[in-house]
Amino acid sequence: MDFRTNIPIYVQIATSIKEQIMSGSLRYGDKLPSVREYSLIYEVSALTIQRAISQLDLEGIIQSKKGIGSFVLGDCKDNLESRMIGQQVGEFVEKMKKMGLTDEFIISKVKESLSNG
């Protein structure tokens, strides 16, 4: 995976795992790969993986059972979706505003995009 180098790596990995949960590749009750397996998949250190897992555990998206592994908590799927989307929208709006666009202009552009499918 290609990482942006100016945001924490563990955050990007946590996001990547969240996306997998949202898209359904990881479902409720699934056991996540081990720390070492993840470290090889993402080509990062074990510590970074552990931080990502801790983050997800903190957010209630997965549950870590010491000595056994980490498991996906599915009932947070909808929550996850709206939170992630909320984050994306927030970032988008901020970008647009930085370019100096007005609220009305932003809304009209969004409507345009939606009606185009």
């Binding site: 990482f3 100016n6 945001i7 924490p8 080509e43 990062v44 250190s45 074990a46 970074t48």
Partner: protein, 235 residues
């Protein structure tokens, strides 16, 4: 978070200049640490001090409670460069050598890795390609079980595919809770791998968490490093 290495007030001089000047720091276990700096001799010196290949002029270095100079190479692996290996040695000779002198060395593992790399144990090491020589050094180092691995520019002059394979090899074979300190100038390539970095400039040290830099400054480590080196130059 255990403190693995304790460095107190070490200084090292060459030709009347301080290459390392009154440096103190504590390094935890379980970290992959990049050692950066524009001057090769500083980074090499620090690694050699940690590996007991050189002695500090002042100060002391301990791993756990024991002084590095009294550890007899237990728990510390210093990655060899191909030139350090006797030119008459075949790969199996080097493996025998390691097996004879290091209790934590797994000769079976070394031979298995050798096969996986597609190398013939009966090959003379000096006759291998540069990349293969480096692979031999790596398989020797990582067939040992240690707490600290010291690597001085292990990716120098190696093609990108091999670099990727070596990265994976290291991640695959590093023992749990071991710390790696890797000197390199390939910051862009490797910054994602490092949990922490040590920047050595003008004998002084900067020691930081990589993700913390990214979080608080929105900078890549490459950018941060350039900034630190510029500031050092201005002072």
């Amino acid at each position: 978070m255990d403190n693995l290495i304790s460095i107190k007030g070490i200084s090292k001089k060459y030709n009347n200049t301080f290459v390392i000047n009154d440096v103190s720091m504590s390094i935890p276990s379980g970290r992959i640490i990049g050692l950066l700096g524009d001057n090769g001799i500083g980074k090499t010196t620090l690694l050699k001090l940690l590996g007991n290949i050189q002695q500090p002029d002042k100060g002391e270095i301990r791993i756990g409670e024991t002084l590095v100079s009294q550890m007899n190479a237990k728990d510390i692996v210093y990655l060899l460069e191909p030139v350090n290996i006797y030119d008459w040695m075949k790969i199996k000779d080097a493996i025998s050598f390691y097996r004879d002198f290091y209790e934590d060395f797994d000769a079976q593992k070394a031979l298995r890795i050798c096969r996986e790399f597609g190398l013939d144990p009966k090959a003379r090491i000096t006759r291998l390609s540069k990349g293969n020589k480096e692979k031999v050094c790596l398989l020797l180092a990582f067939s040992r079980q240690a707490k600290l691995y010291l690597m001085d520019e292990p990716f120098g002059g190696i093609d990108p595919t091999l670099k990727k394979n070596i990265k994976k090899f290291i991640l695959e074979n590093i023992p749990v809770n071991a710390t790696i300190i890797m000197a390199t100038h390939l910051i862009k390539d490797l910054e994602v791998l490092f949990d922490q970095i040590i920047i050595l400039g003008a004998g002084k040290i900067v020691y930081v968490d990589t993700d913390e830099i990214r979080e608080t400054r929105n900078q890549s480590i490459d950018e941060y490093y350039s900034e630190v080196m510029e500031n050092a130059a201005d002072n």
